[in-house]
Symmetry: C2
Subunit: 200 residues, 2 copies
Protein backbone atom coordinates (compact mmCIF):
# COMPACT_ATOMS: atom_id res chain seq x y z
CA UNK A 1 0.00 0.00 0.00
CA UNK A 2 1.17 3.43 -0.93
CA UNK A 3 1.00 6.34 1.48
CA UNK A 4 -0.28 8.48 -1.36
CA UNK A 5 -3.32 6.22 -1.72
CA UNK A 6 -5.19 8.52 0.63
CA UNK A 7 -6.31 11.25 -1.66
CA UNK A 8 -9.67 12.38 -0.47
CA UNK A 9 -9.87 15.70 -2.21
CA UNK A 10 -8.08 17.56 0.58
CA UNK A 11 -4.91 17.03 -1.39
CA UNK A 12 -4.09 16.48 -5.05
CA UNK A 13 -6.51 16.81 -7.96
CA UNK A 14 -9.90 18.45 -7.71
CA UNK A 15 -13.16 16.56 -8.15
CA UNK A 16 -15.51 16.62 -11.14
CA UNK A 17 -19.20 17.09 -10.35
CA UNK A 18 -21.98 16.87 -12.93
CA UNK A 19 -25.39 18.36 -12.22
CA UNK A 20 -28.54 17.81 -14.29
CA UNK A 21 -32.28 18.02 -13.86
CA UNK A 22 -35.47 17.67 -15.79
CA UNK A 23 -36.57 20.92 -17.42
CA UNK A 24 -38.05 23.20 -14.78
CA UNK A 25 -36.17 21.36 -12.07
CA UNK A 26 -34.70 24.61 -10.71
CA UNK A 27 -31.14 23.57 -11.47
CA UNK A 28 -29.93 27.07 -12.37
CA UNK A 29 -31.18 28.49 -9.05
CA UNK A 30 -29.59 25.62 -7.14
CA UNK A 31 -26.24 26.20 -8.87
CA UNK A 32 -26.41 29.94 -8.12
CA UNK A 33 -26.95 29.18 -4.42
CA UNK A 34 -24.18 26.61 -4.53
CA UNK A 35 -21.64 29.07 -5.91
CA UNK A 36 -22.48 31.46 -3.07
CA UNK A 37 -22.01 28.72 -0.46
CA UNK A 38 -18.85 27.18 -1.90
CA UNK A 39 -16.48 29.90 -3.05
CA UNK A 40 -13.86 27.36 -4.10
CA UNK A 41 -16.10 25.52 -6.56
CA UNK A 42 -15.61 26.35 -10.24
CA UNK A 43 -18.21 26.17 -12.98
CA UNK A 44 -17.06 24.67 -16.27
CA UNK A 45 -17.58 27.00 -19.23
CA UNK A 46 -18.78 25.25 -22.40
CA UNK A 47 -17.90 25.92 -26.01
CA UNK A 48 -20.83 26.66 -28.32
CA UNK A 49 -21.39 27.54 -31.97
CA UNK A 50 -24.54 29.55 -31.30
CA UNK A 51 -24.57 33.34 -31.30
CA UNK A 52 -24.14 35.15 -27.97
CA UNK A 53 -27.43 36.35 -26.52
CA UNK A 54 -27.71 39.88 -25.12
CA UNK A 55 -25.87 40.09 -21.81
CA UNK A 56 -23.88 36.90 -22.34
CA UNK A 57 -20.17 37.31 -21.75
CA UNK A 58 -17.46 35.39 -23.66
CA UNK A 59 -15.53 33.22 -21.23
CA UNK A 60 -18.07 33.61 -18.45
CA UNK A 61 -21.24 32.19 -20.02
CA UNK A 62 -19.77 30.39 -23.01
CA UNK A 63 -16.71 30.21 -25.21
CA UNK A 64 -18.16 31.15 -28.60
CA UNK A 65 -16.65 29.36 -31.56
CA UNK A 66 -17.33 28.78 -35.29
CA UNK A 67 -18.79 25.52 -36.57
CA UNK A 68 -15.69 24.40 -38.51
CA UNK A 69 -13.19 24.51 -35.65
CA UNK A 70 -15.80 22.91 -33.35
CA UNK A 71 -16.18 19.96 -35.74
CA UNK A 72 -12.41 19.62 -36.03
CA UNK A 73 -12.13 19.53 -32.24
CA UNK A 74 -14.84 16.83 -32.15
CA UNK A 75 -12.86 14.80 -34.73
CA UNK A 76 -9.71 15.26 -32.68
CA UNK A 77 -11.52 13.88 -29.63
CA UNK A 78 -10.94 17.03 -27.59
CA UNK A 79 -14.42 17.10 -26.07
CA UNK A 80 -15.27 15.32 -22.84
CA UNK A 81 -18.89 15.66 -23.91
CA UNK A 82 -20.69 17.43 -26.71
CA UNK A 83 -24.17 17.61 -28.24
CA UNK A 84 -26.07 19.20 -31.09
CA UNK A 85 -29.16 21.06 -29.92
CA UNK A 86 -31.41 22.82 -32.47
CA UNK A 87 -28.60 22.82 -35.02
CA UNK A 88 -26.02 24.34 -32.68
CA UNK A 89 -23.11 22.59 -31.02
CA UNK A 90 -22.37 22.67 -27.32
CA UNK A 91 -19.43 20.91 -25.68
CA UNK A 92 -16.96 20.73 -22.80
CA UNK A 93 -13.28 20.39 -23.58
CA UNK A 94 -11.21 17.89 -21.63
CA UNK A 95 -8.62 20.63 -21.12
CA UNK A 96 -11.23 22.94 -19.55
CA UNK A 97 -11.86 20.36 -16.84
CA UNK A 98 -8.25 19.23 -16.48
CA UNK A 99 -6.87 22.74 -16.05
CA UNK A 100 -9.21 23.36 -13.12
CA UNK A 101 -8.82 19.98 -11.38
CA UNK A 102 -5.03 20.08 -11.84
CA UNK A 103 -5.03 23.16 -9.60
CA UNK A 104 -6.76 21.07 -6.92
CA UNK A 105 -10.05 22.87 -7.47
CA UNK A 106 -13.39 21.10 -7.82
CA UNK A 107 -15.36 21.76 -10.98
CA UNK A 108 -19.08 21.62 -11.65
CA UNK A 109 -20.47 20.71 -15.05
CA UNK A 110 -24.03 21.92 -15.71
CA UNK A 111 -25.18 19.62 -18.51
CA UNK A 112 -28.13 17.53 -19.63
CA UNK A 113 -28.59 13.79 -19.25
CA UNK A 114 -26.99 12.86 -22.59
CA UNK A 115 -23.88 14.86 -21.72
CA UNK A 116 -23.76 13.42 -18.22
CA UNK A 117 -23.79 9.87 -19.57
CA UNK A 118 -20.86 10.71 -21.86
CA UNK A 119 -18.92 12.13 -18.91
CA UNK A 120 -19.70 9.10 -16.75
CA UNK A 121 -18.38 6.76 -19.44
CA UNK A 122 -15.15 8.71 -19.89
CA UNK A 123 -14.43 9.83 -16.33
CA UNK A 124 -15.02 7.04 -13.86
CA UNK A 125 -14.37 9.45 -10.99
CA UNK A 126 -17.08 11.95 -12.01
CA UNK A 127 -19.82 12.45 -9.44
CA UNK A 128 -23.29 12.81 -10.96
CA UNK A 129 -26.09 14.68 -9.18
CA UNK A 130 -29.68 14.81 -10.42
CA UNK A 131 -32.11 17.48 -9.25
CA UNK A 132 -35.59 16.03 -8.86
CA UNK A 133 -38.72 18.18 -8.68
CA UNK A 134 -41.38 17.57 -6.04
CA UNK A 135 -43.78 16.79 -8.87
CA UNK A 136 -41.81 13.73 -9.91
CA UNK A 137 -41.41 12.61 -6.33
CA UNK A 138 -45.11 12.92 -5.66
CA UNK A 139 -45.79 11.16 -8.94
CA UNK A 140 -43.39 8.36 -8.07
CA UNK A 141 -44.95 7.84 -4.65
CA UNK A 142 -48.43 7.87 -6.11
CA UNK A 143 -47.46 5.40 -8.80
CA UNK A 144 -45.88 3.18 -6.18
CA UNK A 145 -48.95 3.34 -3.97
CA UNK A 146 -51.26 2.50 -6.84
CA UNK A 147 -49.12 -0.51 -7.68
CA UNK A 148 -50.45 -2.55 -10.60
CA UNK A 149 -53.92 -0.98 -10.56
CA UNK A 150 -53.22 1.20 -13.55
CA UNK A 151 -55.50 2.83 -16.09
CA UNK A 152 -54.34 4.52 -19.32
CA UNK A 153 -53.54 7.74 -17.54
CA UNK A 154 -51.42 6.00 -14.93
CA UNK A 155 -49.56 3.81 -17.40
CA UNK A 156 -48.73 6.86 -19.51
CA UNK A 157 -47.32 8.56 -16.41
CA UNK A 158 -45.60 5.35 -15.40
CA UNK A 159 -43.92 5.27 -18.80
CA UNK A 160 -42.74 8.86 -18.44
CA UNK A 161 -41.56 8.18 -14.90
CA UNK A 162 -39.69 5.08 -16.04
CA UNK A 163 -37.86 7.05 -18.71
CA UNK A 164 -36.92 9.63 -16.08
CA UNK A 165 -35.86 6.98 -13.62
CA UNK A 166 -33.76 5.19 -16.19
CA UNK A 167 -31.65 8.34 -16.28
CA UNK A 168 -31.77 9.09 -12.56
CA UNK A 169 -30.30 5.66 -11.85
CA UNK A 170 -27.23 6.64 -13.88
CA UNK A 171 -26.63 9.41 -11.36
CA UNK A 172 -24.93 8.88 -8.01
CA UNK A 173 -27.24 11.21 -6.12
CA UNK A 174 -30.78 12.49 -6.53
CA UNK A 175 -31.68 15.65 -4.70
CA UNK A 176 -35.27 16.70 -4.18
CA UNK A 177 -35.72 20.40 -4.98
CA UNK A 178 -38.74 21.13 -2.82
CA UNK A 179 -37.39 24.13 -0.90
CA UNK A 180 -34.53 25.76 -2.80
CA UNK A 181 -32.43 26.36 0.34
CA UNK A 182 -32.72 22.72 1.35
CA UNK A 183 -31.72 21.62 -2.15
CA UNK A 184 -28.65 23.91 -2.06
CA UNK A 185 -27.73 22.58 1.40
CA UNK A 186 -28.06 19.02 0.22
CA UNK A 187 -25.87 19.53 -2.85
CA UNK A 188 -23.32 21.31 -0.61
CA UNK A 189 -23.41 18.29 1.69
CA UNK A 190 -22.77 15.98 -1.25
CA UNK A 191 -19.77 18.05 -2.36
CA UNK A 192 -18.37 18.24 1.19
CA UNK A 193 -18.89 14.51 1.71
CA UNK A 194 -17.22 13.61 -1.58
CA UNK A 195 -14.26 15.77 -0.61
CA UNK A 196 -13.49 13.46 2.30
CA UNK A 197 -14.38 10.20 0.56
CA UNK A 198 -11.49 7.71 0.42
CA UNK A 199 -10.74 6.86 -3.21
CA UNK A 200 -8.73 3.66 -3.34
CA UNK B 1 -35.99 -1.60 -14.34
CA UNK B 2 -38.17 -1.46 -11.27
CA UNK B 3 -39.71 1.79 -10.10
CA UNK B 4 -38.79 0.80 -6.55
CA UNK B 5 -35.10 0.72 -7.50
CA UNK B 6 -34.85 4.33 -6.41
CA UNK B 7 -34.42 3.96 -2.69
CA UNK B 8 -32.15 6.72 -1.58
CA UNK B 9 -32.90 6.75 2.10
CA UNK B 10 -35.89 9.03 1.76
CA UNK B 11 -38.01 5.93 1.65
CA UNK B 12 -37.66 2.40 2.93
CA UNK B 13 -34.97 1.10 5.25
CA UNK B 14 -32.66 3.30 7.30
CA UNK B 15 -28.91 3.46 6.70
CA UNK B 16 -26.15 1.95 8.84
CA UNK B 17 -23.24 4.25 9.66
CA UNK B 18 -20.09 3.14 11.48
CA UNK B 19 -17.81 5.68 13.11
CA UNK B 20 -14.30 4.98 14.45
CA UNK B 21 -11.16 6.91 15.27
CA UNK B 22 -7.73 6.43 16.71
CA UNK B 23 -7.67 6.86 20.49
CA UNK B 24 -7.86 10.52 21.34
CA UNK B 25 -9.44 11.29 17.98
CA UNK B 26 -12.32 13.15 19.62
CA UNK B 27 -14.91 10.67 18.34
CA UNK B 28 -17.16 10.89 21.40
CA UNK B 29 -17.38 14.69 21.16
CA UNK B 30 -18.11 14.47 17.43
CA UNK B 31 -20.91 11.96 18.03
CA UNK B 32 -22.42 14.15 20.76
CA UNK B 33 -22.47 17.11 18.33
CA UNK B 34 -23.91 14.87 15.64
CA UNK B 35 -26.83 13.75 17.80
CA UNK B 36 -27.68 17.40 18.49
CA UNK B 37 -27.62 18.23 14.77
CA UNK B 38 -29.49 15.18 13.51
CA UNK B 39 -32.42 14.41 15.78
CA UNK B 40 -33.50 11.48 13.66
CA UNK B 41 -30.20 9.58 13.92
CA UNK B 42 -30.13 6.68 16.40
CA UNK B 43 -27.10 5.39 18.26
CA UNK B 44 -26.78 1.62 18.48
CA UNK B 45 -26.53 0.34 22.06
CA UNK B 46 -24.03 -2.50 22.52
CA UNK B 47 -24.22 -5.56 24.76
CA UNK B 48 -21.36 -5.99 27.22
CA UNK B 49 -20.35 -8.40 29.97
CA UNK B 50 -18.51 -5.79 32.01
CA UNK B 51 -19.96 -4.22 35.13
CA UNK B 52 -21.82 -0.91 34.78
CA UNK B 53 -19.71 2.09 35.76
CA UNK B 54 -21.18 4.81 38.01
CA UNK B 55 -23.66 6.88 36.02
CA UNK B 56 -24.08 4.34 33.22
CA UNK B 57 -27.68 3.52 32.43
CA UNK B 58 -28.87 0.10 31.25
CA UNK B 59 -30.31 0.43 27.75
CA UNK B 60 -28.87 3.89 27.19
CA UNK B 61 -25.11 3.27 27.54
CA UNK B 62 -25.02 -0.51 27.28
CA UNK B 63 -27.15 -3.60 27.59
CA UNK B 64 -25.44 -5.43 30.47
CA UNK B 65 -25.38 -9.20 30.19
CA UNK B 66 -23.68 -12.23 31.81
CA UNK B 67 -20.80 -14.04 30.12
CA UNK B 68 -22.65 -17.33 29.48
CA UNK B 69 -25.59 -15.92 27.52
CA UNK B 70 -23.18 -13.64 25.61
CA UNK B 71 -21.13 -16.66 24.51
CA UNK B 72 -24.27 -18.54 23.51
CA UNK B 73 -25.36 -15.55 21.41
CA UNK B 74 -21.93 -15.53 19.76
CA UNK B 75 -22.27 -19.25 18.95
CA UNK B 76 -25.74 -18.62 17.57
CA UNK B 77 -24.31 -15.94 15.26
CA UNK B 78 -26.55 -13.24 16.66
CA UNK B 79 -23.85 -10.59 16.72
CA UNK B 80 -23.15 -8.32 13.77
CA UNK B 81 -19.79 -7.62 15.43
CA UNK B 82 -18.23 -8.49 18.77
CA UNK B 83 -14.86 -8.27 20.49
CA UNK B 84 -13.13 -9.22 23.72
CA UNK B 85 -11.39 -6.26 25.35
CA UNK B 86 -9.49 -6.75 28.63
CA UNK B 87 -11.37 -9.98 29.30
CA UNK B 88 -14.81 -8.45 28.76
CA UNK B 89 -17.12 -8.95 25.79
CA UNK B 90 -18.67 -6.18 23.76
CA UNK B 91 -20.96 -6.70 20.81
CA UNK B 92 -23.76 -5.40 18.60
CA UNK B 93 -26.73 -7.65 17.89
CA UNK B 94 -28.04 -7.89 14.34
CA UNK B 95 -31.54 -7.37 15.75
CA UNK B 96 -30.49 -4.10 17.42
CA UNK B 97 -29.55 -2.67 14.02
CA UNK B 98 -32.39 -4.25 12.09
CA UNK B 99 -35.11 -3.03 14.46
CA UNK B 100 -33.95 0.58 13.97
CA UNK B 101 -33.39 0.48 10.20
CA UNK B 102 -36.68 -1.35 9.64
CA UNK B 103 -38.40 1.75 11.03
CA UNK B 104 -36.68 3.77 8.30
CA UNK B 105 -34.32 5.37 10.82
CA UNK B 106 -30.58 5.67 10.31
CA UNK B 107 -28.37 4.10 12.96
CA UNK B 108 -24.84 4.99 14.05
CA UNK B 109 -22.44 2.35 15.38
CA UNK B 110 -19.62 3.71 17.53
CA UNK B 111 -17.02 0.91 17.36
CA UNK B 112 -13.32 0.30 16.88
CA UNK B 113 -11.52 -0.70 13.71
CA UNK B 114 -11.79 -4.47 14.31
CA UNK B 115 -15.55 -4.17 14.80
CA UNK B 116 -15.90 -1.92 11.77
CA UNK B 117 -14.17 -4.47 9.54
CA UNK B 118 -16.59 -7.17 10.76
CA UNK B 119 -19.55 -4.92 9.96
CA UNK B 120 -18.16 -4.07 6.53
CA UNK B 121 -17.79 -7.77 5.68
CA UNK B 122 -21.33 -8.62 6.78
CA UNK B 123 -23.22 -5.52 5.69
CA UNK B 124 -22.17 -4.40 2.24
CA UNK B 125 -24.38 -1.32 2.61
CA UNK B 126 -22.71 -0.07 5.82
CA UNK B 127 -21.08 3.36 5.51
CA UNK B 128 -17.77 3.62 7.40
CA UNK B 129 -16.43 6.95 8.66
CA UNK B 130 -13.00 7.40 10.25
CA UNK B 131 -12.17 10.42 12.40
CA UNK B 132 -8.58 11.51 11.80
CA UNK B 133 -6.70 13.76 14.20
CA UNK B 134 -4.70 16.74 12.91
CA UNK B 135 -1.59 15.02 14.25
CA UNK B 136 -1.91 12.15 11.80
CA UNK B 137 -2.65 14.50 8.96
CA UNK B 138 0.38 16.63 9.70
CA UNK B 139 2.44 13.47 10.05
CA UNK B 140 1.18 12.14 6.75
CA UNK B 141 1.99 15.36 4.92
CA UNK B 142 5.43 15.53 6.49
CA UNK B 143 6.16 11.93 5.57
CA UNK B 144 4.99 12.58 2.04
CA UNK B 145 7.12 15.69 1.73
CA UNK B 146 10.19 13.86 3.02
CA UNK B 147 9.65 11.12 0.47
CA UNK B 148 12.27 8.38 0.60
CA UNK B 149 14.80 10.40 2.61
CA UNK B 150 14.08 8.55 5.82
CA UNK B 151 16.09 7.99 8.97
CA UNK B 152 15.17 5.54 11.74
CA UNK B 153 12.80 8.00 13.33
CA UNK B 154 10.96 8.64 10.08
CA UNK B 155 10.70 4.97 9.13
CA UNK B 156 9.27 4.16 12.57
CA UNK B 157 6.66 6.86 12.07
CA UNK B 158 6.11 5.69 8.53
CA UNK B 159 5.43 2.17 9.85
CA UNK B 160 2.91 3.51 12.36
CA UNK B 161 1.28 5.68 9.72
CA UNK B 162 1.04 2.75 7.33
CA UNK B 163 -0.71 0.64 9.96
CA UNK B 164 -3.16 3.50 10.52
CA UNK B 165 -3.67 4.04 6.82
CA UNK B 166 -4.27 0.35 6.21
CA UNK B 167 -7.32 0.74 8.41
CA UNK B 168 -8.39 4.14 7.13
CA UNK B 169 -8.52 2.76 3.59
CA UNK B 170 -11.16 0.26 4.74
CA UNK B 171 -13.38 3.21 5.57
CA UNK B 172 -15.44 5.09 3.00
CA UNK B 173 -14.75 8.52 4.47
CA UNK B 174 -12.02 10.08 6.58
CA UNK B 175 -12.89 13.25 8.45
CA UNK B 176 -10.22 15.51 9.85
CA UNK B 177 -11.10 16.53 13.43
CA UNK B 178 -9.20 19.80 13.60
CA UNK B 179 -12.03 22.06 14.75
CA UNK B 180 -14.76 20.04 16.42
CA UNK B 181 -17.60 22.05 14.81
CA UNK B 182 -16.14 21.50 11.35
CA UNK B 183 -15.81 17.79 12.03
CA UNK B 184 -19.45 17.58 13.17
CA UNK B 185 -20.54 19.55 10.07
CA UNK B 186 -18.57 17.23 7.81
CA UNK B 187 -20.01 14.05 9.34
CA UNK B 188 -23.49 15.61 9.05
CA UNK B 189 -22.76 16.32 5.39
CA UNK B 190 -21.75 12.70 4.85
CA UNK B 191 -24.97 11.44 6.44
CA UNK B 192 -27.12 13.90 4.45
CA UNK B 193 -25.30 13.01 1.23
CA UNK B 194 -25.67 9.26 1.80
CA UNK B 195 -29.38 9.79 2.39
CA UNK B 196 -29.80 10.94 -1.21
CA UNK B 197 -27.32 8.52 -2.79
CA UNK B 198 -28.87 6.26 -5.42
CA UNK B 199 -28.39 2.63 -4.41
CA UNK B 200 -28.89 0.41 -7.42
Amino acid sequence: MDLTSIDNGLTGKGLLFVISSVSGGGKTTVIRGLMEELGDLRISVSHTTREPRPGEVEGRDYLFIEEDPFETMVEDGLFLEWAEVYGQYYGTLNTTIDSITAEGLDVLLDIDVQGAIQVKERRKDAILIFIVTPGEDVQERRLRDRGTESDDEVSMRLGAARRELAFINEYHYSVLNDEIEDAVDTVCSIIRAERCRNRN
